[in-house]
């Protein structure tokens, strides 16, 4: 039994989601210990950061062709490490980058990634959400090869990842050829200048598909105005161009943690929940009593937002 874990970095630091995945990997390994993997052209600092975090070992996959993330290079390098180590489990944080290469890596090994895992049970069985969070599915590997698992952000607590004495660090130099790298990425750039900082807002009224049409948005604006709240939205509202992208909360938008997050007509898909579930108080208004938003809400009103929101606006006014 052996567990390998890929630690993802950003700007030279290991990302927080990696420590959450570490907690999951350590749970999976039991006492057996986890081998953490860092990848890049220069990985010394990353390895040093990882070495004090309770791993059995740290492996630096290092090659000049890994300076920038490219799926082809990552898949080829990790495939070689897997062939050398034959791990039982191979764990990733569920990030955009992992979504880009882990399914290809698993396919190359004749396996399928169990993606976006929210909990690990006895067996082990791996639970992930289905139907936009309305259901859970629990999965087990049936094959004999390594089992690939990516861990949902926010599902495991980073502070539960073990810490401990310095782990031995080794370097693994994969054999890579420039001809294997078929795609050419350019430098990442920021989207349009951010003019709204939802991250520092104390009160947020957030709107989802339930609003049906852009013409209905004044309903939300009125409520936000009487509360003195910022307006935010789930992805589809911004996709439709009804509100600017910078007001989007969720995995592809901003992460927020206000005192009050009032979710109106938002069903609560996991991509949205990861961006707001750290809020101090969550209120959900939704016509569907089974909407997953109610799983994280402190207070809920099951009803038609076109009746509830005007009533709430009046009630807030009256209470002032």
């Amino acid at each position: 039994m052996s567990v390998l874990l890929v630690l993802e970095d950003s700007c030279g630091k290991i990302r927080r989601v990696s420590w959450e995945a570490a907690a999951a990997a350590q749970k999976l390994a039991g006492g057996a210990g986890v081998t953490a993997v860092v990848i890049g052209a220069q990985t010394e600092a990353l390895a040093a950061e990882a070495a004090g975090r309770g791993f059995a070992a740290v492996v630096r996959i290092e090659h000049p062709l890994l300076a920038q993330y490219i799926a082809d290079g990552y898949v080829a390098a990790l495939q070689q490490l897997i062939q050398k180590e034959s791990p039982t489990y191979f764990v990733f944080p569920h990030t955009y980058q992992v979504r880009d290469y882990a399914p290809a890596l698993a396919t190359r090994m004749g396996q399928a990634l169990i993606g976006d895992v929210t909990s690990i049970g006895d067996g082990p069985t791996f639970t992930r959400q289905l139907m936009q969070g309305r259901l859970n599915g629990s999965f087990k590997p049936a094959g004999s090869g390594p089992c690939f698992v990516s861990v949902q952000a926010g599902a495991f607590r980073a502070d539960l990842a073990a810490s401990g004495a310095s782990a031995p660090v080794s370097t693994f130099a994969p054999a890579l050829d420039a001809a294997q790298i078929r795609t050419k990425p350019s430098e990442p750039f920021r989207g349009s200048a951010q003019t709204v900082d939802l991250g520092s807002a104390q009160l947020i009224v957030s709107v989802g598909r339930g609003i049906r049409e852009a013409e209905n948005l004044p309903l939300i604006e009125n409520l936000a105005a009487v509360l003195g709240a910022e307006i935010a939205a789930s992805r589809p509202i911004c996709d439709n161009g009804w509100l600017p992208m910078e007001r989007q909360v969720g995995s592809s938008g901003q992460s927020v943690a206000p005192k009050l997050y009032l979710a109106v007509g938002i069903s609560g898909a996991i991509q949205h929940l990861v961006g707001m579930k750290a809020s101090q108080c969550i209120v959900a208004i939704n016509k569907d009593p089974d909407a997953p938003i109610f799983e994280v809400a402190d207070y809920g009103i099951v009803g038609d937002l076109f009746e509830v929101v005007p009533a709430l606006t009046e009630a807030v006014k009256a209470a002032k």
Binding site: D100, K140, R182, L227, D304, V316
Partner: protein
């Protein structure tokens, strides 16, 4: 450019979801079905590429007979023809098994580009496009918002996390998974719906695409999620519930 768009039919967004006996699937009896929305964005991107650069858009979908309605919808929006992989056992295939079916159906067409949505709204695996690329030995990129044809291949705009983006050059043929929001979705016109009835839909039996491999993952059970918090549901009319909520937010949660 010859473009294949892989499209999935999924339960309508507000459809009532009930777990079927045996706890391994959902009850399909009362379900209405729709085109997976991210796939609709993939179709839109394909249609716009064709309008700019010429070529052909082929819709590919796997599933039982009911999938035909979603295929017709795609044809009505402007796809030229379709391939329907007739399969009644998709529920018992894992992501690898379904992607194998689609890859086998794609192979003889030799497309320049394969597009699909970044994930499905029912299973949400978010892997099918990437697995297809690996099975076909093609380069890929995911979470793509824009595609532009270049001399050497294509240049795409990829969404990264936290408001960052990146341009990537890929040679053709290639596989892309499309993020929602890059384009505005079109509606089918009456003329389009009429024309769709005349367009070719080629049926291919799943069995003719090779034997189903033993799954590498098994679904143990489907269950209702357990609540993470104990939610206080405020009853009564809209007015009563709103008044009760303001009370709670002021004096219990103390956030107003």
């Amino acid at each position: 450019m010859k473009i294949i768009v892989a499209i999935k039919q999924v339960p309508e967004r507000d459809a009532p979801v009930r777990i079927a006996a045996g706890n391994k699937s959902i009850n399909e009896v009362d379900l209405n079905w729709a085109m997976n929305e991210p796939d609709a964005y993939a179709l839109e991107e394909a249609l716009q590429l064709k309008e700019k650069n010429g070529g052909e858009v082929i819709v590919l979908s796997a599933g039982p007979e009911r999938v035909g309605s979603t295929i017709r919808e795609a044809l009505a929006k402007g796809a030229d023809r379709a391939i329907h992989v007739i399969a009644d056992d998709l529920g018992s295939r894992d992501a690898l098994g379904v992607a194998k079916l689609l890859a086998e159906a794609i192979k003889p067409e030799n497309p320049d580009l394969v597009l699909t949505g970044l994930q499905s709204e029912d299973l949400g695996l978010g892997q099918t496009g990437v697995i297809i690329a690996e099975l076909l030995g093609l380069p890929h990129s995911t979470l793509i918002l824009q595609v532009e044809k270049t001399e050497a291949g294509i240049n795409v705009k990829r969404e990264l996390e936290e408001g960052w983006f990146q341009h990537i050059e890929l040679p053709l043929p290639a596989v892309l998974t499309i993020q929602s929001g890059g384009n505005k979705l079109r509606y089918a016109t009456l003329m389009g719906i009429k024309r769709a009835k005349m367009k070719e839909v080629r049926a291919v039996a799943a069995a003719d695409l090779g034997p189903a491999a033993a799954p590498v993952l098994t679904l143990e059970q489907i269950s209702l999620p357990s609540k993470q918090k104990s939610t206080q549901i405020l009853p009564g009319s809209a007015k009563e519930a709103a008044a009760a909520l303001v009370e709670k937010l002021k004096f219990e949660a103390r956030v107003l």
